[in-house]
């Protein structure tokens, strides 16, 4: 029973990690861009949702689309001023710049919203669906639904649309894609905006079940890398699976081991995976080229 509940909660918690990882997945896989600020974009979205909620008192899930639209705008802007100039400059410049961006977002939050944790209260955020002895938090449940939709949509976009073909072609080999007449810098832009939008979704959903303060973003730092690597670069189903896996590991470790250790166990798992199965859960074998030379 407890195990069942734990697995269930792991699924609920992990679903949103999946989306977090998916955004990262796209930036890493398509643009090969090192973005240390992805977690802080989630933070930004959390505060956006909070702001909108304080203004309108509307249901957070009605606000989600608005947050997403705004984040798309943010993504477009960042692509223009940050990503495009940085892509050709290589990992190091990208690291400094995105770390700087992270600090900027965090400290703007600190200046505007103060270091106090803030949260949203809704009637359903702390009511649960009861199945026998099991509890399913409505907030997290809706999170799960949203994640499922997001994954389906992204998969469809990448696998079933002309744009998706362009994205995949570009991620395979940018030059070749250019020869085929694809406007790769536009594709890069779209991919980045998509990743920021996904960050927006994570933020708008996560704020419902968890308070936000300016330092919250650092707790995403490792997870946002762990999930795509665990799932296997380029694999959308793998990312979803990895997200859920991380969630379950967290909840199980806090149920049966010391709660204090839950993140550490995830990290250890991460390092083990990097070393033992670098191509991740569902990654293609050839991906290992990018890891072991």
């Amino acid at each position: 029973m407890v195990l069942l509940q734990a697995l269930l909660n792991g699924l609920l918690v992990g679903a949103i990690w999946g989306v977090l990882g998916l955004g990262k997945q796209i930036v890493l896989g398509v643009i090969h861009f090192v973005n240390f600020a992805h977690g802080h974009l989630v933070l930004l979205a959390m505060y956006l949702a909070l702001l909108l909620w304080t203004l309108t008192q509307a249901d957070p899930f009605l606000l989600l689309p608005i947050v997403v639209v705004i984040m798309a705008g943010v993504g477009w802007l960042l692509d223009r001023v940050l990503v495009r100039p940085l892509v050709p400059r290589g990992e190091r410049a990208q690291m400094i710049a995105t770390l700087a961006l992270a600090l900027i977002i965090e400290n703007l939050a600190l200046m505007i919203a103060s270091p106090q944790p803030r949260s949203i209260q809704t009637w359903w955020a702390d009511t649960a669906l009861r199945l026998g002895g099991l509890f399913l938090n409505y907030g997290q449940l809706m999170g799960l639904v949203v994640s499922a939709v997001v994954f389906a949509a992204t998969w469809w976009l990448i696998r079933r649309t002309p744009l998706g073909v362009m994205i995949r072609a570009t991620s395979q080999n940018r030059e070749a894609a250019q020869y085929m007449g694809i406007n790769t810098s536009r594709v890069y832009g779209i991919a980045f905006v998509l990743s920021v939008v996904l960050a927006g979704v994570v933020g708008a959903v996560y704020i419902v079940s968890s308070p936000v303060d300016p330092s919250t973003a650092w707790s995403f730092l490792i997870l946002m890398f762990v999930v795509p690597v665990l799932g296997g670069l380029g694999s959308i189903p793998g990312t979803a699976l990895a997200g859920v896996l991380v969630g379950i590991v967290q909840v199980l470790s806090s149920t049966y081991l010391d709660i204090e250790l839950q993140n550490m166990i995830v990290f250890v798992l991460f390092v083990l995976f990097l070393v033992l199965r670098p191509q991740g859960l569902l990654g293609k074998a050839t991906d290992q080229f990018r890891i072991s030379v």
């Binding site: 293609k284 074998a285 050839t286 030379v293």
Partner: protein, 255 residues
Amino acid sequence: MSAAGSPPVSDRRVRLETRGLGRRFGGLRAVRDVSVTIRDGERVGLLGPNGAGKTTFTNLVTGDIKPTEGEVILDGERVTGFAPHQLFHRGLARTYQVANPFPSLTTLDAVMIGAFAGTRDVTAAASAARDALDLLGLGHRCATEMRNLTIVEMKEVELARIVASGASLVFLDELLAGLRPNEVGDLLEVLDRLAAERSLTVVLIEHLVGAVMTFCERLIVMNEGAVIADGPAAEVAHDKTVVEAYLGAKWRKDA
């Protein structure tokens, strides 16, 4: 024009031998069952259409990738799965398609990296590198950063690094790529001189069939990961399957 006066190829010492060499990636077999023998002083051209597995085969031999089946024997020693640097110290060197691996090193430093195979001492390595550069007529470029060299010079530096290292069996991956026809001729003459002076065994991995024909007395042709022909250049060049598979149009044009 090739090593005249030396005993017939068949009697010479075997430098490199591969037995049923192959590599799988997940489902696909990038290279399968390649068994070739390369003897001392040979000049072999490794040909094949784009994606035939030439580079992968080279990577398997030079240790960049570990084979999933088969063996590599270098000078009688079983070296399957050895790291590139180990093979390098056994006299097997290679160049990459990448024209300029060390852009911000000076020409001298870039060559010294190879020269350290012969000596641990810096000054000795430096002089060895200088000699090699002089041999290629690049003595005046010692202090220049690699990124400021011309394509030809870059390729010559690659050769200089091999010479300085004292390697005797070299795999040159697309050495001639990106050169103008006249440059190709010049570089091949340089290579010919080096091969003679330092008695190198050379394997040219190339697309430019014409050029290869003038330099190599033997051709190995790969297609879809397997060897489809191996023998004296003239014969292979007229082998029907090869002509169909690959050389056809191009060869007639060049001839």
